[in-house]
Amino acid sequence: MVTTQTQSMGRYLQALEAELELIDLEPGTALETLYLGGGTPSLLPGLDFQRLVRSITRRFPLATGAEVTAEANPEDVTPERLDAWIEAGVTRISMGVQSFDDAELRALDRRHDRRTACRAAALVRKRSELELNLDLMLGIPGQDRTSLQTSLSVLLDLAPAHVSVYLLEMDKPHRLRALKRRYPERFAGEEDSAGMYLEVHEILTGRGFEHYEVSNFARGGSRARHNLRYWHCRPVHALGVAAHGAEGRRRWANLENIPAYLEAVDERIRPLAWATVLSSRECLAEELLMGLRLEEGVSPARIAEGRSLFPDFSRRLDEFLDLGLAVEKNGRCRLEPRGWLVSNELFVTLV
């Protein structure tokens, strides 16, 4: 779900509610997870937030023990908003802190600083109803091992149940790309980024986190259940501009253009940009790709299927096994963290 500038928020919230009636999901279906994010729902005034969740759950009630995640910017977290979120049913807060180093945060154009982030995280941690996820980023201009270790130790003091660690990606048009062209020396090289990633793995697993997906760590079983639905190829329905949904072999996405989206919903037309049905071969490829990004890996049957359908995949997987980038245990196949780092070399054989 995506929100936009405050002025048009009201109009957009109306559209979201209207779209609820358009989506291809039987009313009354119980939701196991609900994720409010992609954008900044934390900007919403508490009452609007509650109203939105109520509209959703009125049509699609939450299952018992459902996970309800809200994405939040550190600067938006206040005791009042936390009250409102908890009242709305939120069980989990995901906060994009990226770093606890002020220079790095400035390089990323973030509005918050280390103090704000720490205070926000502490506020969330005080609420026993809420689980906390913190996002960190690797490969920020100016970042090095020392500053990373400092960020990690601050993070560990805040004791979140879940940590996401993302390697900086440059595939999206981004201000950082221009920056990298001008100051390549300020960016960590391939070697350093890889080193930092493995170091994070060592430190976090040493503190009782399981590294259960390429970029995700959880403690005490607090895995992100909503995200696991993507990785297990389970149904996900979505509302809002550019939202993506999946069910069975069907995949679809909403329009990316806000006026076009609003217009479609106004006319009670599903605001789809595209919809497609995957072939069983594509489904298998997706399952393998997602599965091998998980620590639990992929079952022997699926691997065997993949090997027979994708000969290049089979050869490359052997090379991964050979190099110790992948391991097979009881027939289940999974990648090691070093293998995850170069996993595209394997996944490219599946497209």
Binding site: G38, Y166, L167, L168, E169, D171, E190, E191, S193, A194, Y197, V214, S215, N227, Y230, W231, V236, A238, A242, A243, H244, G245, A246, R251, A253, E286, M290, R293, E319, F320, L323, L325, W340, L341, V342, S343, N344, E345, F347, V348, T349, L350, V351
Partner: protein, 599 residues
């Protein structure tokens, strides 16, 4: 028509000095083509020729001209305009008695002016110097006339001033041509001897031969024989181009025209061969025939191996029109199935490759061009090696000889220093260095052809800031201290990257190739060790470290679609890679070796 009324002539010039424009004006003035119908540069009928301003295929046009009430027939024989085709030029000139030597009034005498003038002199032609482009403000006809006298030795006062563009002086030029060029000699009663100076393939009529009848006559329905190849055919039609084909009862001694016989394929003919009658053959052929062989060789491979069949068909088709290039199937462990092609020179190679890509829409990889080496084995056998991978092992080689060229360079004096340095770097031996006018220097060098095929032209152009003109002739084979340089990727030699190189340059060349490869081979799962080696001795080594990071950090909802596209892009990139063992080498690597500094 009496032979006294025939004039056979060519126009020779350095590239861009206005040969084709002059030919156009002559066609117009003689009424062969009306100005309205005049297609720019009628004689150059291939797009590529027009684009490059180079005449590749020669033609012959028969034109009426009247002087003092007397009717004459002028046979204009067009010549190819590039160094790679100098043998064809010399055969075209052999069909003439005179030549118009066109020199640009703004540029002066250039290397090809000189080379063409020499060819004309060797053929005993009457040369009429023509100074062209006198309409241009920067024209310096006096200076150029002086150069013609100094460099070529033709009297300056005889040079005619014309502007082919405006037509100024062209009428006088034709009158002078009639006066000065001798009529053809030859014995119409003797057994037929006709010089084949050009031939091309016409998809409707088979092979069209352009001939100059030296003795005797040739008529339809006669059986003719090519004296060099021994092949016989029946004549179907003879005639002349004016410029449309105009059938005649016979072509007689002194005349120039076309012969259509039952020749189906171009490679059944050889330029320079003598045509005689099968029943009543001449005793001896005309002089000057050579079986021209390719001198530059390069591998051609389809980028997509599925295009192999298309490439073969395209080569077959091109050969219909150009019998001077050769190709034979070749395989490379790195590039797959392709062809080893032979060309008359670098320009010839470029033209063929461009035609393949443009007319046949093929994506090609070309390996570094090389020459044909003569290897004497320790067993005393001679082996010709065009492909480095065919070179016998170091223990079996007694000596290797390489083809040399005699290069002529004309330049401004300020560029002499860098040009001499370039020639020396390329293992050249100076033959002549002479001022041939104020600020104008003639340089002659003997150079190994192999040192010229890579990038000599480009280098010459840049060190002389475009002021040097270049021409060459193939000279003898000379023994050289040559070795085979192998490139190994993780210990496996990559045949398509091997080169034969002079011992002294092996180290430098090896380093250069290795560092280029290090730059273009992407990091992959395995560490890649690149080595350059002569025999067992490794002379250069570089390592591309194993890939550490290629991962999608985020993979949720909308990311999945976007990331799949990213993977598809990576996959498309890998498609252009060739596998060497477990290592993927980009095609760029093979091309990069071509661009390696040859010095």
């Amino acid at each position: 028509m009496n032979n006294d009324r025939i004039r056979n002539f060519s126009i020779i010039a350095h590239i861009d000095h206005g040969k084709s424009t002059l030919a156009d004006r002559i066609l117009e003035l003689t009424g062969a083509v009306s100005a309205r119908d005049m297609k720019e540069q009628l004689l150059d009928d291939m797009d590529l020729e027009r684009e490059r301003g180079i005449t590749i295929k020669a033609h012959a046009v028969s034109l009426p001209w009247t002087v003092d009430g007397e009717e004459y027939r002028l046979n204009l024989i067009d010549t190819p305009g590039h160094v790679d085709f100098s043998y064809e030029v010399s055969r075209s000139l052999a069909a003439c008695e005179g030549a118009l030597l066109v020199v640009d009034a703004t540029q002066g005498v250039e290397a090809q002016t000189l080379a063409n003038a020499y060819l004309a002199l060797e053929n005993d032609l009457e040369i009429i110097p023509v100074i062209n482009k006198i309409d241009l403000p920067s024209a310096e006809p006096e200076r150029v006339a002086e150069q013609i006298e100094q460099v070529i030795g033709l009297p300056a006062e005889e040079a005619l001033l014309v502007s082919a563009k405006t037509g100024e002086g062209v009428r006088e030029l034709l009158d002078l041509l009639v006066e000065k060029v001798p009529p053809p000699a030859g014995d119409p009663g003797a057994p037929l001897r006709a010089l084949l100076f050009d031939a091309w393939y016409d998809s409707y009529r088979g092979v069209c031969c352009l001939v100059r009848v030296v003795d005797g006559r040739v008529k339809p329905k006669q059986a003719i024989r090519f004296m060099a190849t021994g092949a016989s055919f029946d004549v179907e039609e003879v005639g002349r181009f004016s410029p449309k084909p105009e059938p005649l009862d016979a072509l007689e001694a002194g005349q120039v025209g076309y012969v259509f016989a039952t020749i189906k394929e171009l490679h059944q003919t050889r330029v320079g061969d003598t045509i005689t009658l099968d029943r009543e053959p001449a005793v001896a052929p005309l002089e000057g025939f050579q079986d021209i062989k390719p001198v530059v060789f390069a591998g051609l491979y389809p980028v997509d191996s599925a295009d192999y069949g298309d490439l073969r068909d395209a080569l077959d088709k091109l050969r219909l029109n150009d019998a001077s290039f050769t190709f034979e199937p070749d395989t490379s462990q790195a590039l797959g199935f392709g062809f080893r092609c032979g060309y008359l020179g670098l320009l010839h190679m470029e033209i063929i490759q461009q035609r393949l890509e443009r007319e046949f829409n093929l994506d090609l990889i070309t390996t570094a061009p090389g020459v044909r080496y003569r290897v004497i084995t320790t067993a005393g056998e001679t082996v010709w090696v065009e492909n480095p991978k065919d070179l016998p092992g170091p223990g079996e080689i007694d000596s290797i000889a390489e083809p040399m060229i005699d290069a002529t360079i004309l330049t401004k004096d300020e560029a002499v220093g860098p040009i001499l340095k370039l020639c020396e770097e390329r293992r050249g031996v100076q033959k002549r260095l002479e001022y041939v006018g104020p600020q104008r220097v003639l340089i002659e060098y003997r150079l190994p052809l192999a040192e010229v095929v890579l990038d000599f032209y480009d280098k010459l152009k840049s060190v002389s800031r475009g002021y040097a003109s270049f021409d060459y002739q193939i000279a003898a084979y000379e023994p050289g201290d040559l070795v085979k340089l192998d490139i190994l990727v993780n210990g496996e030699p990559v045949d398509a990257l091997s080169i034969i190189v002079h011992q002294e340059k092996a180290y430098e060349r090896g380093q250069s190739v290795v560092s280029t490869l290090k730059r273009v081979i992407p990091r992959q799962l395995y560490e890649v060790v690149i080595q350059a080696a002569v025999g067992k001795r490794v002379i250069s080594r570089a390592v591309v470290k194993a890939l550490r990071k290629n991962v999608l950090a985020k993979c949720y909802g909308g990311d999945i679609t976007r990331k799949k596209k990213l993977l598809e892009k990576q996959k498309a990139g890998k498609k252009r890679m060739k596998k060497v063992g477990r290592i993927e080498v980009p095609q760029e690597a093979f091309l990069a070796v071509l661009k390696v500094e040859g010095s």
